[in-house]
Structures are given as structure tokens and as C-alpha cells.
């Protein structure tokens, strides 16, 4: 954030007492916007993964691509601040999806075409 200008050293302020020149203090919506952008990047990551899987397993790849659209939409739902349980379920969806995709990737890496079978 802004460099310390006064007598208070940086990082010594108690939480929630930012200086008034902190732009976050004037506009907390910036945090929400950054978070939306982070959701977008995550959705792009899922889309890239979907495209990679699509080449060998079209159905699974399409599923991941659809999920990337879902992830993008999730980051834009209203009421992201506050609703703890809703947020919990959204983030859990990402973890569960990543684990599921990892399993698919493991299967693909052993069964996919062009692989020399293990002997």
C-alpha cells in the first residue's frame, strides 16, 4: 500500500485502522473487483485444463470447459461478502473439481493414446 509518511511505522497499525489516504478505505469495492478478477483467472485456468483434456477425452474436456464457465459465473454472484456457507460451498466446488480432474488426468496419463504401456 502507500508508504509510511507519518510517525507510525508500516505494518504497526492495528487491523482495520488503515490511514485515511488508503484507497481501499475510500473504496472497499476494489477488493471485490480484485476478487472477481481472481475468479476470472481461475476460470481461465480451468478452461486451459479443459482444452488439454478435450484432445484425448472430448466428453470430460467439455465437462471441464462447462465448469470453467460455472466458476467464472460464481465469482460474479451478488452477495459474495458475508454469506459464509455459500462461499464455503463455492470454494469447495473448486477443490472437488480439481481433485476430480486430477483423477481424470492420472487415468489419462496412463491410458491416453500415444503412451508406451507399462511393462
Amino acid at each position: 500500500m502507500s508508504p509510511p509518511t507519518g510517525e507510525t511505522p508500516a505494518g504497526k497499525e492495528p487491523a482495520g485502522k488503515e490511514p485515511a489516504d488508503d484507497i481501499e478505505y475510500a473504496d472497499p469495492g476494489l477488493a471485490r473487483e480484485r476478487t472477481e478478477l481472481a475468479w476470472t483467472r481461475t476460470a481461465i485456468g480451468f478452461a486451459a485444463l479443459g482444452a488439454a483434456v478435450l484432445r484425448y477425452r472430448p466428453v470430460a474436456g467439455l465437462l471441464v470447459l462447462v465448469l470453467s464457465a460455472v466458476v467464472w459465473r460464481l465469482g460474479r454472484l451478488p452477495g459474495t461478502a458475508g454469506a459464509g456457507a455459500v462461499r464455503d460451498r463455492r470454494l469447495l466446488l473448486i477443490t472437488v473439481t480439481t481433485v476430480g480432474v486430477s483423477v481424470v488426468a492420472l487415468v489419462l496419463s496412463f491410458l491416453g493414446p500415444g503412451i508406451v504401456p507399462l511393462r
Binding site: 487491523a15 482495520g16 481501499e24 472497499p28 469495492g29 477488493a31 471485490r32 480484485r34 476478487t35 481472481a38 475468479w39 483467472r41 481461475t42 485456468g45 480451468f46 486451459a48 485444463l49 488439454a52 483434456v53 484425448y56 451478488p78 452477495g79 459474495t80 461478502a81 458475508g82 454469506a83 459464509g84 456457507a85 455459500v86 462461499r87 464455503d88 470454494l91 469447495l92 473448486i94 477443490t95 480439481t98 481433485v99 480432474v101 486430477s102 483423477v103 488426468a105 492420472l106 489419462l108 496419463s109 496412463f110 491416453g112 500415444g114 503412451i115 508406451v116 507399462l118 511393462r119
Partner: protein, 132 residues
């Protein structure tokens, strides 16, 4: 803090654990941290899959690609799960005004990538020397 974007919904704040709703900016920051780790785990899975599928096999070591790719995919899986657990722990600490728990993910990631890198180097050397 009284100015919270999005406001509070009393019906949904007291669901999974007690404590008070923290400043929305901290909640957002915690969520962004989780999302960043999620992207890291996705990249690990994509990288592992690409190594297993696209890398030409090591001469003389046909299983070599799997030795590198499979741990990467498993690491991505683990990072995803651990980041969710740490997000939950951080959110709980925020709700109770306690200091945030220290993240173990950087250490895990650094050690795992070092090990996988050493394995990759060993495989590259072995295939160059020629396995008997």
C-alpha cells in the same frame, strides 16, 4: 468497520461457525489467496498431464514420463485440498479476531518441486548415459 460492500445477511452468517463477520476486505483477500493456490494446483495438474502425454519418451526409459508427471498431478491434488483447509482455518481465525495460522503450503510446494526436479534431472542423465 461499518462500510461493508455487499452488506451482511444475518440469516447466513451464523451457519458453520460462530464469531463475528470480519471486514469484507479480509474475507475477499482470504478468498483470493485460495483462488491463487487453486490456479497453482491447476497448473501442476496441467503440467503433469502434458509431461505424461506430450513429452517424447526418454530413450531407454519408457516409464520415465510417468515418474515425473504422476507426482505433479498428485501434488496439484494435494495443494488444492490443503489450500481449501487453510482457507477455512484462516476464515475461522478472522471471525474470532485471532492471528492467522501460518501457511504450510509454500514449504510443501518448494520441497515437492525440488524432489520432482531432482528426479527429472536423474532421468535426463540416465537416459543420456544409457540404461543397461
Amino acid at each position: 468497520m461499518t462500510d461493508q460492500p455487499g452488506g451482511r445477511d444475518p440469516a447466513t452468517t451464523s451457519t458453520d461457525d460462530d464469531g463475528t463477520e470480519p471486514d469484507a476486505r479480509y474475507t475477499f483477500a482470504n478468498e483470493r489467496t485460495f483462488l491463487a493456490w487453486s490456479r497453482t494446483s491447476l497448473a501442476l495438474v496441467v503440467g503433469g498431464l502434458a509431461i505424461a502425454q506430450l513429452l517424447p519418451p526418454f530413450p531407454g526409459i519408457p516409464w520415465g514420463r510417468h515418474v515425473i508427471g504422476t507426482p505433479l498431478i498428485l501434488l496439484g491434488c494435494a495443494v488444492s485440498v490443503i489450500s481449501y483447509l487453510e482457507w477455512k482455518a484462516s476464515q475461522r481465525a478472522l471471525r474470532h479476531g485471532q492471528p492467522l495460522p501460518r501457511s504450510r503450503l509454500p514449504q510443501i510446494l518448494a520441497i515437492a518441486i525440488m524432489v520432482i526436479g531432482l528426479i527429472a534431472a536423474a532421468l535426463a542423465l540416465l537416459s543420456a548415459v544409457g540404461v543397461p
